[in-house]
Every structure is written in structure tokens, then in C-alpha cells.
């Protein structure tokens, strides 16, 4: 299951086999992700559709660049719900996103170990 969390072949193609760049991207993600996740949580709790859409959009972009498709799809769903002001569905969608993100973060550590050799 964990292999589907990040499409390594796609990620390597995106960085044109530059493992240094891949490592840089993973580090940036690990540094940036918690802040965005926290901001998204806050927006969900406040039922602020505009902020939910904005934060989910940013996360979707980061995750897409990492070829982390399931997490990117979960972020895209939250973005759309935010745009549609479907506040009643924010908590469930956020919980789903958080669960996928936990798996993703574990997978990222494995990737980092591989890239760092």
C-alpha cells in the first residue's frame, strides 16, 4: 500500500533523476507541510470556506509535485468543498486527508533514507 503513496518513478522523472534536487524538495516539504496542515485545521475548525480552499490549494500543489497522488486528491477534495462552502463536510474530508498524510510522512522518511544513500 505504501508504494502508492508516492509514485517514485514519476517523482524521479520530474526531477530528471537529480537526487540532490529530490532531497531538497523532500526537505522543503517536511519543513513546510506542518504549517500548512495547522493552517488548514484552523480553517476547517472555523468553517472558513475561503481559507480552507486556499490552504488546500497550496497543499495540493506541494503534494502533486511530490507525485503523492492520494494525498493530493484528498487536498483537491477539500479545496473544492471550501470553494463550494460545504462546511458540514469539512471535518470528515480533513480527517481523511490527515490519515493519508500520516502515511505519506512515514513514506517520506523512507524516501529520504534512500536518497541520502
Amino acid at each position: 500500500m505504501s508504494s502508492a503513496i508516492i509514485d517514485m518513478a514519476e517523482l524521479l522523472a520530474r526531477v530528471e533523476d537529480d537526487r540532490g534536487l529530490m532531497r531538497d524538495l523532500l526537505l522543503i516539504f517536511k519543513e513546510e507541510f506542518p504549517q500548512h496542515l495547522q493552517a488548514l485545521r484552523h480553517a476547517v475548525n472555523s468553517a472558513d470556506g475561503e481559507k480552507v480552499a486556499a490552504e488546500a490549494h497550496a497543499l495540493k500543489g506541494m503534494l502533486s509535485n511530490l507525485a503523492a497522488h492520494p494525498a493530493a486528491a484528498a487536498a483537491a477534495r477539500l479545496e473544492q468543498l471550501g470553494r463550494d462552502r460545504e462546511a458540514s463536510q469539512f471535518p470528515e474530508a480533513f480527517t481523511s486527508f490527515e490519515e493519508i498524510s500520516k502515511e505519506l510522512l512515514l513514506q517520506l522518511d523512507v524516501c529520504m533514507a534512500k536518497v541520502s544513500g
Binding site: D18, L21, D24, L25, F29, E32, M62, N65
Partner: protein, 322 residues
């Protein structure tokens, strides 16, 4: 080639920057639309841009609109980066002035291929601008000497006369004609004659100030306009030009050909509001007088005698030519 990338998301920015640097681009990376517009709008800004659609301060389409509003700026080829995929979004993006769009996350090969398309467009624009400038030059300049052509030099003289009348200053008209030019063509051939005309043009230009005008009036006749020239200095300036023309023979492929030029001089402030055409007739009469007086000299048109003033004749004997 310089390229600007604008993306508020640091991972995308880093990925774009590295990918494009590897492809040989000089990358300028900024993190919002306002900074992008500020870098793209100046005339010497990058001509290629990758703009994220959603950005703080100003979004990608907003940047496109600002850049397109600028006139006199070389074309900027702009590609929008977007995760928006609906037809309406694409249409809105292109309507804002973007040339292309690319869906995120991008494929590096597709990104580079689309930028190569942009470079082809920019290259085409460069060639069109160059062709337009060449045509503009050809329309205004004499094909042989590259001096102003007759139409333009007369237009410049007309404007200068109006200005000098308004400012109560003097415009000096110098009508010059190469001496014995027909015999140059007959003796040395027309190619040598062309060399003489080109060198004469060069000597005339090097004898005047940057803000004076020199044009080919026709055949071997040249019109020199000395702008805002003090009347007391006009004759000395004309003598200087006359000396420069005949200073050394013109070296052509087969011979060194001695040349000289006769001039008719007219100071505009002495003639009131006489039309330009009439002033030129008087300058031409003075030139005729210079020819009659032995050539290689300057004669001044005088309104008192309405003919060339004989006291103003300055003659440079042939033996003084170096």
C-alpha cells in the same frame, strides 16, 4: 535567455528554477504576482515568463494584463501555470494576454518544449522588428550615402526654420555641390563616382555637430543645415567644411581622386519669413555664384543684393589641397 518564474509555493519555485537552470536559462524567481509585474514591465525586463495562476498580491492573469498594457516594450511570452483545467479557466487565462498554459504538476520535457515555442515566437518578433527598422531607415535615408534623403532633409529644414523663427535664432543653410563630378564619372567610372559621393558624405558628417543635419539633395548636391548657428560664425563654419571636403584626395580602388565642393550659404534670420522653397532658391543662386567664381569656395546669399555677396567669397586654391 532570461526567464522569470513567479510562484508563491516554494517547492514549485525550486523545481522550476532547477529544471530551467539545467536547460540553460538565466532564472529570476519571485514569489508573488506584484513582484513579477514589476520585473516584467520595464523595457529591459525578461521576455519569457512562467506565471503561477493563483498568487498573492496579483494573480497570473493580472500580471499578463499589466504587461500587455505596456507600450513600447518588446513582446513578453508568458505561460500560465495552473491546476485549473476547465475550458472557462483556460479561456480566461488566454484572454488575459497569456500565450500558453501548462497544467501543474508539469512534465519537464513538456515545459522545455513549450518554452522553445516561446523562443521561436520571440525570435520571429526580433526578425520582424529588425526588418521594420531596416525599412524605416531605407525610407528616410539615401541608399548610397546613408545621409537623410531629399524628402527628410527638407522636412528637417522646414521644422528647423519654424523653430529658429520662434526662438529668434539663426538656421544656416549650406547648399553644396561637388566640383567637376561629371568628369570623375567620365574619367574613373561610376563605381569610383559612388566612392567619391560616399566619402563626401562621410566628410560632411564629420565636419558638423551631432545636432546639425546633412542630406543628399540630389545627384552630387548636398544640403547641410546648421542649427542654431551664430550668424557671425556661419562663414567660418562653412569654410571649415569646405576645407575638410578637399583636404585629401578620395582613395578609390584604382585612383586617388582630388575633390572639392562649392557652397551657397544662407542665414535664415536675414530673410524674415520667406518660405523655405524661396530660401533654397537664394542658396542655390549663391552656389551658382560660387561655381562662377572658380569653385571650391563659399558664397553668401545676401537679401540686400538678392544675389551672392561678392565680399563673402572664400576661395581655396587647388594648390592648397593636401
Amino acid at each position: 535567455m532570461k526567464i522569470l518564474i513567479a510562484d508563491d509555493e516554494i517547492m514549485s519555485r525550486t523545481l522550476l528554477q532547477k529544471t530551467l537552470e539545467r536547460a540553460g536559462y538565466e532564472v529570476i524567481a519571485v514569489e508573488n504576482g506584484r513582484m513579477a509585474a514589476d520585473r516584467l514591465c520595464p523595457v529591459d525586463g525578461p521576455r519569457l515568463a512562467l506565471l503561477d495562476w493563483v498568487m498573492p498580491e496579483l494573480d497570473g492573469p493580472g500580471v499578463c494584463r499589466e504587461v500587455r498594457k505596456r507600450e513600447g516594450r518588446s513582446y513578453v511570452y508568458m505561460v500560465l501555470l495552473t491546476s485549473k483545467e476547465s475550458k472557462e479557466d483556460v479561456v480566461a487565462g488566454l484572454e488575459s494576454g497569456a500565450d500558453d498554459y501548462l497544467t501543474k504538476p508539469f512534465d519537464p520535457e513538456e515545459l522545455k518544449a513549450r518554452l522553445r515555442t516561446g523562443l521561436r515566437i520571440l525570435n520571429l518578433e526580433d526578425r520582424l522588428v529588425e526588418a521594420r527598422e531596416q525599412m524605416r531607415f531605407q525610407a528616410n535615408h539615401d541608399g548610397l550615402t546613408s545621409l537623410w534623403n531629399r524628402v527628410v532633409i527638407l522636412d528637417l529644414l522646414g521644422r528647423e526654420l519654424i523653430r529658429s523663427r520662434r526662438e529668434r535664432s539663426t538656421t544656416v543653410i549650406l547648399l553644396g555641390d561637388l566640383d567637376h563630378f561629371k568628369s570623375v564619372n567620365d574619367t574613373h567610372g561610376h563605381l569610383a563616382g559612388d566612392d567619391v559621393l560616399r566619402e563626401t558624405a562621410r566628410r560632411l558628417l564629420s565636419s558638423v555637430r551631432a545636432y546639425d543635419f546633412v542630406g543628399r539633395y540630389g545627384g552630387e548636391e548636398f544640403l547641410v543645415v546648421l542649427n542654431n548657428c551664430h550668424p557671425a560664425h556661419a562663414l567660418a563654419r562653412a569654410e571649415h567644411i569646405c576645407r575638410n571636403i578637399g583636404a585629401t584626395p578620395v582613395q578609390t580602388a584604382n585612383a586617388a581622386i582630388p575633390i572639392s565642393m562649392s557652397f551657397g550659404l544662407l542665414k535664415s534670420q536675414e530673410w524674415g519669413a520667406l518660405p523655405m522653397e524661396e530660401l533654397l532658391q537664394h542658396a542655390d543662386a549663391a552656389l551658382y555664384a560660387a561655381k562662377s567664381a572658380g569653385r571650391n569656395c563659399v558664397k553668401v546669399a545676401s537679401p540686400k543684393s538678392s544675389s551672392a555677396d561678392s565680399h563673402s567669397q572664400v576661395h581655396f586654391p587647388v594648390h592648397l589641397r593636401r
